[in-house]
């Protein structure tokens, strides 16, 4: 089949554009690592693109980890992300399964309620959320972040999983029921394992979003021992006005980027399919 660009000059230009953009996305990652190994002097007297001088300041990483308490923030981010992803998945999978397989009074309106909530700008909820969490004593707690994040990912999860459950053949459930499995047994032992690809896709997308989330984290947490990584990055960079520690700042960025980057490398395909599934509204 004849696809492709015939004109070699045009082809070369297009290649150049792709390469330039490729550099623009890869270079910041490299730059983050290199700048994390510099001291302030090198920031002020050398060009930003110059390589770090020897000896490389690997201690910037341990400095940020211990002195800036990134060990705590990293731990907080992991607990919050894991907790809310799991809770969100459980709550959306159960509802999605029932909505996909059972008709009952109001089932359509319930589905519409979840779907249309995706159209509501979440900023609208920020102020009441702060007071709600305050009255529930969930301000400055990881649990508070977990429930809010879990709730914020429900609609997306339900939307994708309803489609997913509908695509699974009904015969499997019927066979399970004939074999004497209960409703719960059918769901947990048959349907849930079968829907693993869908669950993983949603879990990955949610992990990325929650790990990176900033606004809710900033509003619901002002106790430093409960900060997540993005919240601390925001604060750290604001502090740079009177406390210049550029190297450690880049080391901090590095700690925030690396986990999602690793996740992306392993789950590229799932992420792509999650995007496509979520967008077919």
């Amino acid at each position: 089949m004849n696809i492709g660009i015939r004109n070699p000059v045009v082809k070369l230009i297009f290649y150049a554009i792709l390469i330039v953009w490729g550099v623009s996305v890869l270079y910041p990652l490299l730059w983050t690592l290199l700048d994390a190994l510099k001291n302030n002097e090198q920031f002020f007297f050398n060009a930003p693109w110059s390589l770090p001088k020897f000896p490389l300041l690997w201690e910037n990483f341990s400095y940020v980890w211990q002195k800036y308490n990134f060990n705590t923030y990293f731990f907080n981010s992991i607990v919050v992300t894991a907790g809310s992803t799991f809770l969100g998945l459980l709550l959306s999978a159960t509802t999605a399964y029932v909505l996909a397989r059972y008709k009952f009074r109001g089932s359509n309106s319930l589905y519409l309620l979840y779907i249309s909530s995706m159209m509501i700008p979440f900023v609208l909820a920020l102020i009441p959320l702060f007071f709600l969490m305050n009255s529930m004593h969930l301000i400055n707690t990881k649990l508070g972040l977990i429930v809010v994040y879990a709730s914020s990912v429900l609609a997306f999860g339900i939307f994708v999983l309803v489609g997913f459950f509908k695509s699974l053949p009904k015969e499997l459930e019927e066979a399970a029921i004939v074999d004497g499995a209960s409703y719960y047994g059918t769901f947990f032992k048959v349907m849930l394992p079968l829907s693993q690809p869908g669950l993983i896709t949603i879990a990955i997308i949610n992990v990325l979003n929650i790990w990176n989330e900033y606004i809710v984290g900033t509003i619901l947490v002002n106790d430093p021992s409960q900060y997540t990584l993005p919240v601390e990055i925001g604060i750290m960079q604001a502090e740079m006005q009177y406390r210049t520690e550029w190297g450690p700042l880049f080391a901090a960025l590095f700690f925030t980027i690396v986990p999602v980057l690793i996740l992306y490398i392993f789950f590229q395909r799932q992420i792509a399919s999650g995007i496509t599934a979520g967008a077919v509204k």
């Binding site: 696809i3 492709g4 660009i5 082809k11 297009f14 290649y15 554009i17 792709l18 953009w21 996305v25 983050t32 920031f43 002020f44 930003p48 709550l91 159960t94 509802t95 399964y97 029932v98 909505l99 009952f104 979840y114 909530s117 159209m119 509501i120 700008p121 900023v123 609208l124 909820a125 920020l126 102020i127 009441p128 959320l129 709600l132 809010v148 709730s151 914020s152 429900l154 339900i158 769901f187 790990w211 990176n212 900033y214 606004i215 509003i219 993005p230 990055i233 925001g234 960079q237 550029w246 980027i257 999602v260 980057l261 996740l263 992306y264 590229q268 792509a272 995007i275 496509t276 967008a279």
Partner: protein
């Protein structure tokens, strides 16, 4: 009797799978959203239980608040800039990586998505370094061509600083929409392109007459999504890079809401900004859908 228990069991099962989610969603999403609308009719410092009902006064105040108008303007500037910038570049990449037969298309596709997995906070900090007047990338680069050291404060202009926030926003958004469009293009039957090739239609003609009409649905979704996420979330990049400054010139509705509520304790006024964001995003959705529906009819 037996069928009665069966029905009962079925209902219990449905309820046990529906209700926990619904209650949870009701408490942590629906209730706050409704409260947000409700608060916008009050004057409230947040510190006491005492709220004063003031009807539409918050909204009336907005008419005389120059900052809110600038924030709305900035929001729509970002929406327009991002829609054009992201859609043009993402469409180009999506077509280039599927239709042009480039080697390493898969590699480019993978790396182009990287900015989308990185937190906007991190992206804001990185771009602050590009723009930094003393140690920034941009000034250092420009200094290569000038005799004196360039020390432009890219984020400190008294006007038009909002322009500086457009490149990071576009850069960070491309990958997502590119993936979306790639999937759409790949689902177009190859026979369409083969037929076009036989008739001697070049790449441009194929793009105009096959690709665009057949991925129009995804283009529409993308435009709407860019609009929604911008009105809803441009706050983060603004807050990290300029905090709405200098002199409120880069304020967007989200950042102004945050500042009014959580910095200046005008929670009622903040809530009414949230109300405006909701109304504007609904209106814009309807308008955009109208505009783009017209296009489809023309194409087919």
């Amino acid at each position: 009797m037996n069928s009665g228990t069966a029905k009962w069991q079925r209902n219990v099962f449905i309820a046990s799978f529906i209700l926990p989610t619904l209650v949870f969603f009701g408490i942590f999403t629906i209730y706050p959203v409704v409260q947000g609308l409700y608060y916008s009719f009050f004057e409230w410092s947040g510190m006491s239980e005492h709220k004063t009902f003031i009807g539409f006064d918050n909204f009336k105040d907005m008419f005389h608040d120059p900052i809110i108008w600038r924030a709305i303007g900035n929001d729509y500037f970002l929406v327009a800039g991002k829609v054009v910038g992201i859609m043009v570049i993402a469409t180009f990449f999506a077509v280039a990586l599927t239709r042009f037969g480039f080697k390493m298309a898969g590699f480019f596709r993978s790396i182009f998505f990287i900015p989308n997995v990185i937190s906007v906070v991190v992206i804001g900090v990185l771009w602050n370094f590009i723009y930094n007047p003393q140690i920034g990338f941009l000034n250092a680069f420009l200094s290569l061509f000038t005799k004196d050291q360039v020390t432009i404060a890219w984020l400190g202009f008294t006007s038009h600083t909002i322009w500086m926030l457009l490149p990071p926003a576009i850069w960070a958004g491309i990958g997502f929409y590119m993936i979306l469009l790639i999937a759409a293009i790949q689902s177009i039957p190859a026979s369409y392109y083969e037929a076009a090739n036989l008739e001697g239609a070049g790449q441009w003609k194929q793009f105009r007459n096959i690709t665009i009409p057949l991925v129009w649905e995804q283009i529409k979704v993308s435009v709407l999504n860019i609009m929604m996420t911008t009105l809803n979330g441009s706050f983060v990049i603004v807050w990290i890079m300029t905090q709405g400054g200098p002199d409120n010139s880069t304020q967007v509705m989200g950042s102004y809401l945050y500042q009014m509520a959580f910095r200046q304790y005008h929670f009622g006024y903040g809530a009414s900004i949230g109300f405006v964001i909701l109304v504007l995003s609904l209106i814009t959705t309807i308008v955009l859908q109208r505009l783009m529906r017209h296009e489809t009819v023309e194409m087919s």
